[in-house]
């Protein structure tokens, strides 16, 4: 891992964001986490000032994405990320309360790498996030090239 992986967390619910962050930390992942509470800001950051995503050319990114955002749906962001030549290699983890089969299918079709429903059962949630943390620590996040 040349560059440390930067975690982009798009989550409008601050409580959820805090819980996710805590559990990631508990699993021993100490990478930077950049929180965004709405889709517009997150997209602005991801695509950069020029809107091409070239700003993250040499960075390894991992995106945690909530689908229910105040200004757009996470699916819009997922689509743009996966259509962007600089960003499309970044793994996207969709985290949402929806366990609708159609929505899950749609996310995978659009290129999401992991889909995690936020269960009310906290143990499951915490476990899922921690495992995700372990997963972060072992996967090789490719750097955007080109």
């Amino acid at each position: 891992m040349g560059n440390p992986v930067k975690i982009i967390m798009v989550e409008d619910d601050e409580g959820h964001a805090r819980l996710i962050e805590r559990n990631i930390r508990r699993s021993g992942v100490n990478n930077d986490i950049m929180p965004f509470t709405n889709g517009t800001e997150a997209l602005n950051f991801l695509l950069g000032a020029d809107g091409t995503g070239a700003a993250h050319k040499d960075q390894a990114l991992l995106i945690l994405l909530d689908l229910n955002l105040p200004d757009m749906t996470g699916i819009d962001i997922l689509k743009q990320v996966k259509e962007n030549s600089y960003l499309k290699y970044a793994p996207v983890v969709v985290l949402t309360t929806t366990d609708d089969a159609e929505e899950i299918k749609r996310c995978y079709a659009l290129g999401c790498n992991v889909y995690i429903t936020k269960p009310v059962n906290y143990e499951n949630f915490a476990n899922a996030i921690r495992q995700l943390g372990l997963f972060f620590s072992v996967i090789q996040v490719p750097q955007a090239k080109a």
Binding site: D13, G15, H16, L19, R22, N68, T97, T98, D100, K118, P119, V120, N121, Y122, E123, F125, A126
Partner: protein, 443 residues
């Protein structure tokens, strides 16, 4: 007659005798014939005595002549042949004849008049008939036109009505969809804060352990007790005072209630989500071999059935055109319920029967389980409502869901049951369901 005394020929006398015999009946007949005319009667009154008197004279003359006194008879006849009597008779007879002629003319005139009157009446009557016929034709036409108008209006009204019904149906459908969207969004959005509540409650639990662990440490330090070796279950609270122990337990109890309530709320929200998801699902009517479908369901619950010591009998069932998934859900819910609410210690007997009736298929799912109190027969179909002893897990959703599905497929569901004996759920579904007959869905 007057010739008889002169000629003495008998044929004159015969003529007279003949006339004499006929005169009275003739006069009588004449009286009868002229009974309608007072004038003629009066004339007859004049002529009758004269005539009779004349005949009397003749008879006398004949008798005289037959006595051989021919001259006497002749004289008698001549004497009495004074023209006055005969002339009188002639005058009166002439008057009578004239009167009769007048009467005849009069009557003919009257007859003519009445004939022409009857002709006029006939013509007038015919004309009246024609007019009446015309009028009735007019009336019939008018009424048939009125009827046509009315029918047209009725057709228009029908069309209006249909349009109104369509409009209302569309409104209702829209309202229903609105409710479903609402239920979906609400239940979905409710889940988000619930994740936080549950998450931070669990965080609090961890904090509790930290806090009381620390209190325990301080207590031990204050009491100058040795630090205990960390035991296998990680209990760090062994040094707590009684008061602190009580606090710790209260803390745990409060958190426990919060968590169990959250769990319950989450299940309810999940149930609503599932219902709205089902309500939004598009149905797809296909030909279904009902018996095979139910055998399949029975196969999936075989384990539960053997645990409950129950047998499930599937009788030959009529096939149906309906939505497969809905039918599966309906039958598996009912069969699972039947297995769930058997009487403990009594071998279960569950039977599934079916029959065709007037374009509908009627299914009976009968069990010998604990049964349902009659006051709960409606209640069990309501969302989140349950009946009887609450000794089995469940949210009170299954039957509400089943009823909603059955209704959406244009059917009905009823229950008949006796506590302690068993229950029979009866489902009536259209044998050949098409989407156009789709009943109301959740709402």
């Amino acid at each position: 007659m007057r010739g008889y005394p002169h000629t003495r020929e008998n044929h004159y006398r015969h003529d007279f005798e003949e006339a004499d015999q006929q005169i009275v009946p003739t006069l009588t007949k004449l009286r009868t014939l002229t009974s309608d005319s007072a004038l003629q009667q009066r004339n007859l009154d004049i002529i009758r005595p004269l005539t009779i008197q004349r005949f009397e004279i003749f008879r006398k003359a004949v008798a005289t002549a037959q006595a051989g006194q021919w001259d006497e008879a002749r004289k008698l006849l001549i004497e009495t042949s004074a023209e006055d009597v005969m002339g009188q008779i002639r005058d009166v007879a002439g008057a009578m004849r004239a009167e009769e002629d007048r009467l005849f003319r009069l009557r003919r005139q009257a007859a003519d008049d009445s004939q022409s009157l009857s002709a006029i009446v006939t013509i007038a009557g015919s004309a009246l008939i024609v007019v009446l016929a015309g009028f009735s034709i007019f009336l019939v036409r008018q009424s048939s036109r009125a009827r046509n108008d009315a029918e047209q209006k009725l057709r228009d009204a029908n069309l209006d009505l249909e349009a109104a019904v369509d409009e209302r149906t569309a409104d209702l459908r829209e309202a229903n969809q609105e409710i479903q969207r609402f239920a979906y969004i609400v239940s979905h959005d409710l889940r988000s804060p619930l994740v936080n509540i549950m998450g931070f409650t669990s965080e609090l639990e961890e904090l509790r352990d930290d806090i009381f662990g620390r209190i325990a440490r301080y207590s031990r330090a204050a009491a100058a007790l040795p630090e205990p070796l960390p035991d296998s279950d990680g209990n760090q609270e062994s040094g707590l005072t009684e008061e602190d122990k009580q606090l710790s337990e209260d803390f745990t109890e409060a958190l426990g209630f919060i968590k169990s309530s959250i769990g319950k709320m989450d299940r309810l929200i999940g149930a609503i989500l599932n219902l709205t998801r089902e309500g939004r699902r598009e149905f797809d009517p296909v030909q279904i071999e009902t018996r095979a479908l139910i055998e399949e369901i029975v196969g999936t619950v075989a384990h539960q059935a053997s645990e409950a010591n129950a047998q499930i009998r599937v009788e030959p069932l009529p096939d149906i055109v309906s939505d497969r998934l809905s039918l599966e859900q309906i039958f598996s819910n009912l069969i699972e319920n039947a297995l769930k609410y058997l009487r403990p210690g009594v071998p279960g007997d569950i039977a599934i029967k079916g029959r065709n009736k007037l374009g509908f298929v009627i299914f009976d799912i009968t069990d010998n389980g604990r049964g349902i109190d009659p006051k709960d027969h409606q209640r069990i179909f309501e969302l989140f409502r349950r009946a009887g002893v609450q000794d089995k897990p469940g949210q009170g959703i299954g039957l509400a869901h089943v009823r909603a599905l059955v209704r959406r497929m244009g059917g009905t569901i009823t229950v008949s049951s006796e506590p302690g004996k068993g229950s029979t759920f009866t489902i009536t579904l259209p044998a050949r369901w098409t989407m156009s007959r789709q009943g109301k869905s959740y709402g």
